[in-house]
Symmetry: C2
Subunit: 535 residues, 2 copies
């Protein structure tokens, strides 16, 4: 399965659309040459090392024997190469061996990793979230103990949130933490859906676990976060945390999804007691943006595969790429990918620039809008392959199966829509969204479709702010979709102004005429109201 990092599209999105170079003062070491070298290097790793084991990993899956999980063939060597390249620590703290580069650059690197092999990409992605949690919430001795080894990739990390009885409802967690004489806690409970929760690619795994300290308040205000290493720091002995099952899933077969049993495991509080949700949100935000990137990445992989097929496959004496409907699908794929890429990169640049309001606003858009596009584009990729798309040998089915997880994990896309409404829109009475609309208007004078879409988004925003809660929640997913449609176009239009580019301009134009034209219909969907629901 050949994949080549779309460096030109990536650089246009990163530099022109997401305005990477606004970070020049904050990151003086980064220049265009270094950026180029990083993207080329990551692209080479993705193409030469990760993509070749994507299909084989999908077929092989992982093997659970006792409590040991054996990764698919080739994953050990691939992880060694990833580690050796220093890719894990690209954006991490130089004090612990990181390279201190912008998260946006690290995110672009992860795009190529996810495109080449989404199952593999989840391992460094989860490690990254653990690094961010410890960097931001860890005590100095915790940083000293864990960061260097996580940043080098020697150890890997996990997030342990979900329990069998509590999916997205973290307040219902029952895993308990009992204080011990040495300052540690004994952690007992079961966690499900733990990505790369157990594996044989690293000598230690650092679990970040939400649990409830004895006597803590009920609900989400009584949750704390703990570090639970697979091997104890004190003596290197095996901790009482074990993988007791791996899920049989529709996709990402080579990524073990583990059920973890904690039976009095030694854990160390990270951050304050009962403030685990705050620490968790640090991880979640990083993870959500990365999952959004996965959506774009799997779409890119599906697009490249479909394009190659369409250029190679003859039908009726002509290549199928000559059929307008095939070209329409391919153009749709590429246009949506490019808009989604701009959203993800811009979210990361906002985070790097300390523009918290824009980062917070773009995070649910990146997560939900881009993962929905991942599914849609992967499905178009199957369609372009015809019968070969449904046959596993064809290679397109894999992307369709893999892509389907991204709208679900790290908070379903429905939860992203609630987040956009409740935590982003209501919490500042729409200020952050109005700033995005103002940015859109500022660029839209020469773009009538974009100007109309900005108007629609403004009306929709007014509606969301004034509507009864149930009515607003009924329209929240459509509102997120409209906001994503507009944000992608706004960033793209800005990019074209910064760096005029004929190819990008025509793709942008297609996007406006096929996506932004839906803005009024989105407003109707947003305004439909809870009374219209009849299930």
């Amino acid at each position: 399965m050949s994949y080549a990092a779309p460096i030109a599209d990536m650089r246009f999105a990163l530099e022109a659309c997401a305005d990477l170079w606004r970070l020049r003062e904050r990151y003086p070491d980064l220049d265009a040459d270094l950026l180029s070298a990083i993207l080329e290097g990551a692209g080479a790793l993705a193409a030469e090392t990760l993509a070749p084991i994507n299909r084989s990993g999908d077929r092989a899956g992982v093997i659970l024997g006792g409590d040991v999980v054996v990764a698919a063939q080739g994953f050990r060597e691939a992880y060694e190469a990833f580690k050796a390249g220093g890719w894990q620590g690209l954006a991490a703290d130089p004090a612990y061996g990181g390279q201190g580069l912008p998260r946006a650059v690290a995110l672009a690197v992860m795009e190529t990793v996810h495109s080449a092999n989404m199952s593999f990409g989840l391992l460094p992605m989860l490690t990254l979230t653990a690094i961010e949690a410890i960097e931001q919430h860890g005590a100095p001795d915790q940083k000293n103990l864990y960061l260097e080894k996580l940043i080098s990739g020697e150890w890997t990390g996990t997030m342990n949130l979900t329990e069998p009885q509590a999916g997205s409802d973290l307040g219902a967690l029952t895993t308990k933490a009992v204080p011990q004489a040495d300052g540690s806690y004994a952690i007992t409970g079961q966690k499900i859906f733990i990505t790369w929760g157990e594996h044989d690619l690293a000598p230690n795994i650092i679990h970040l676990v939400l649990a409830r300290i004895d006597g803590a308040p009920a609900g989400s205000k009584g949750i704390s976060m703990f570090i639970v290493p697979k091997y104890r720091d004190e003596d290197g002995s095996r901790n009482a945390v074990r993988c007791i099952g791996v899920e049989e899933k529709m996709g990402i077969h080579a990524s073990p999804t583990c059920t973890m049993a904690y039976e009095g495991a030694t854990g160390w509080l990270i951050g304050e007691e009962n403030r685990g949700l705050a620490a968790m949100f640090t991880m979640m935000n990083a993870a959500r943006l990365n999952v959004g990137m996965e959506g774009v990445a799997v779409a890119e992989a599906a697009y490249q595969k479909a394009l190659a097929y369409a250029r190679d496959r003859k039908q009726g004496g002509a290549l199928i790429i000559e059929h307008p409907d095939i070209r329409r699908m391919l153009t749709t794929m590429r246009a949506k990918i490019q808009a989604g890429r701009a959203i993800c990169y811009a979210c990361a640049v906002a985070a790097d620039a300390g523009d918290k309001a824009r980062e917070d606003l773009l995070t649910p858009l990146a997560k939900a809008w881009c993962t929905d596009l991942g599914v849609e584009v992967a499905s178009l990729g199957v369609q372009i392959h015809g019968g070969m798309g449904f046959v596993e040998e064809g290679g397109a089915a894999l992307f369709y199966r893999d892509a389907r997880i991204a709208p679900i994990y790290e908070g379903t896309n429905g939860i992203q829509a609630i987040d956009l409404y409740g935590r982003k829109l209501l919490s500042d009475r729409g200020d952050a969204m109005r700033a995005l609309i103002a940015d859109t208007r500022a660029i839209a004078s020469a773009h009538p479709r974009l100007a109309s879409a900005a108007d629609a988004l403004e009306r929709a925003t007014d509606h969301m702010l004034s509507a009864a809660r149930e009515d607003a929640l009924t329209g929240a997913s459509a509102y997120l979709a409209l906001a994503g449609d507009v944000a992608g176009a706004m960033l793209w239009a800005r990019g074209l102004k910064r760096a005029p580019n004929v190819e990008q301009a025509s793709l942008y134009n297609f996007y406006c005429e096929s996506v932004l034209t839906r803005a009024e219909a989105r407003v109707a969907e947003i305004s439909i109201g809870a009374a219209a629901l009849c299930v």
Copy 2:
């Protein structure tokens, strides 16, 4: 996996929307009691016999040993029950043991079969297409030889079109037919993607095969159709047709998708020499409508599964069905299903009524619009399940995987869009479509959304008729989507007029406010033009 035939929704779509009783004079034996008994009986078979082996069949798949294909456990008993119930011959010619009922009733029966077990449903569906081809194109002795055994279900049938080098392009077929002294032909070639091409559930399989007689004109005008029985009629000896491979697919695992090798197999010409495409289109039209029904059926199964999950699963102390976004998804699912069901049933009623223009117009809508909704609704079903949707144990993933084939086979949905444009719209200069628009206007006076959508469809129709071919083909899929949106609503509005129903009315209203609101955006997509494509 529990499934219950949605008899009330089915009857509303069949009797009220599709106007089944306009067939009263043609089918005097059918009355409401018989209809009720048939639907209840089919629903019971689907729920009690077919649904219970859906998951197990998906896991087991089929086994190819030598040239023998062994069906999954339970399929033999299920097929015996299907046969014993006389379900195969519901709409077939009474002269050969059929029951002579409307195809619309048989289609509704097939809906329940496909919902319960899409892999299973493909077997009687393919037999049905063979029956229709022989009924319409077979010589009297061919009818005598095959029809009774196909109609009883004792033997099954297949369609052999695709070859490795020629997917949708039938003109490129190379399978050859050499005339023999006894009037038969020796058929040699390879066919791929042959559904239920080989299996162990029936003592004989009747293959309908497209091939080229020695010396026939090149291209699609040199193709003839042949009957190739697995066991020869003359002496019961094994014919030289063998299954040499089964595909490993993303879904419909229990339905064998076979590569068939013909090595001088005895075949008998059906219909005229070089007129194979006409006979093939008879089969294709029946198959396309049935595939559209599959889309609705798998969507219904996904909907029922998701509804049950949402009513059972607690999150944050409440059932997830109480969340507006979950209810929005469920309402969307049910509304689209009901519109799609009306389109499929109305297409069958048009066929039964001899309304060829309407049947021809609705066939590509049924095939493409309803299979796209199958994928979309199955994906929503996964989403409602959250993490359990991605885990195979949850049961929702199966529908998402199975649904994905329907937009591909029996002519991809892109081909349906070309068919709608070329063979339906251009061939009568839009008369059939204008009749559908007139029907819509006639019912739309009290339905402003529907009236606007009819206007949009008319403008789009004018555009399609006047646009350059490449531009029209660029917009053809969006045009089909708009036509389906409108046709579904028109049929539904008619049904509500014939049989007022509060529940259906509120679902219809949701459909208008969430689907028909997109009509203007569809017109923009339809009009985008080939120059906007940039891949």
